[in-house]
Amino acid sequence: MQETDRILRVNNIEVKYHEVILVLKGVSIEIPRGGIVGLLGANGAGKSTTLKSISGLLKVEVGEVTDGAIEFEGVQIHKKNAVDIAKMGIIQVIEGRKVFEHLTVEENLRVGAHLRKTGSVKDGLGLVYHYFPRLKEKRREVAGFVSGGEQQMAVVGRALMTEPKLVLLDEPSMGLAPMLIHEIFNILTKLNSEERISILLVEQNVKLALNVAPYAYILENGRVVMDDTSERLKENEDIKDFYLGLSEKGKSKSFADVKHYKRRKRWLT
């Protein structure tokens, strides 16, 4: 990867909540411009915290980057507040489909456009409706009452309205039907290739994420334990075993193997 190619570089950050609770213990991530990078791991591994420390939302939850640095297009951003970071073009889509429930779908999108010039709001809406035709049908409906998949589309569309350079997606597949997940991920891939939007994708659905993102990081217990191209990660025995649920056919696993893995993982870090 060329030096200039990277849109975001997270350099060995350490994050504490309330000045004592150590959540991230050295996370380094690099995202190429126009690329999709996966950030995978189990519950509580620190995936969402990593996203929040990039977007600045961490500060709302009394968290702080206490060590290391985050660089966006060569500018250090880990001391900036969330509003300034959003203005620079980093938008986090927070997990759990947080639509503005009492606004209509289109009003939701227009909130996303509040930093844009007046004239370009229409263009933005046109673009979102081009990628999410379903939102156009539902645009006058109150967002709290449309289906889960449509809410997820509204939330991604809302982020798109800000003309982002980098979108941080937090579990877009959570709680959605497989058909819808497929649809949304297709659109995400298209947005990446056609609109040149870089994406950092957090997922628990590892199989899905490895198919979409060509490169991924595995996060465990606040540390990056592995990072590689998705092709190679898919072939990795540990990944197969613990994240993809594949193991040698028919054999039941013994607890000793798990411990072996844990030991090895510690060695890996």
Binding site: A82, Q92, L115, T162
Partner: protein
Amino acid sequence: MELFLMTLISGIMVGGIYALVALGWVLIYKCSGVLNLAMGELTLIGAYVSLTFYSMGIPFILSIVLTLLIGIVLGILVERIFLDKLIGEPILAVIMVTVGISFFFKGLVEFIWGTDIRIFDPPIFSLKPVSIGFLHISTVYFWSFVLAIVLFLVFVAFFKYTRWGLSMQATADDETAALSLGVSARFVYAASWAIAFMSAGVGGALLGNINGVTISVGYLGLLVLPAVVLGGLNSIPGAVVGGITIGILQNFAGTYLDQYFPGGVKEIFPFAFMAVFMLFVPYGLWGWIKIERM
């Protein structure tokens, strides 16, 4: 019959002023979830500030505009000095702070302007009533009503069509999600206080024209509470309809019930009505019903 119509019409007109103050109340609640118990004092300050400008010889309309400007500045100051540090604290704490602010403002007003009744001199509105058919409406009430409707339309348009109005509503719905899109909560709160100060200020100025300006103008804030609750705490049309309803109820109580329950039934009746109404419609007319998904 004529008495009935007169009572009704003047009730609607007084309701216009209530609606103005109720609008300010709803705005702050809508944007930050805070029940601002200092609303009456905002009205009070509006009344005194506009009176001061008017007695300096500035035309009434211009002094209203100046009151609006002062309102914006004060609103932002209040938010920055008292409330900014409370972002993220429990709502109840913030509400208690607004009680403190109300005492502070009341003291400030007494300190600056004293406690004597002051009147707009020379009177702005002629004593000759506006006549529509056989109905005679006092000029003050008539113009207050017109102004309330105009401001209401401006607010509705602001919230529905401008990006700032939408951002304010978005912040009320989900502060973190709004922040993730670059909507600054601090800006939204400051703006909502500025706007609330503006509408309360105009209400105060108009009310001062009716009864003269004293500390008691501040009690309007409390009187408006039933109007706000009736309309639904976060509905702008609700504030207007609630205000007018309370105005009508109050006038009817004054006209028809006062002979049976002499002494102040007019002030109490709206509260009694509110209590009963809430039993059946706990969210108010158009308040947000919490959307739960299963």
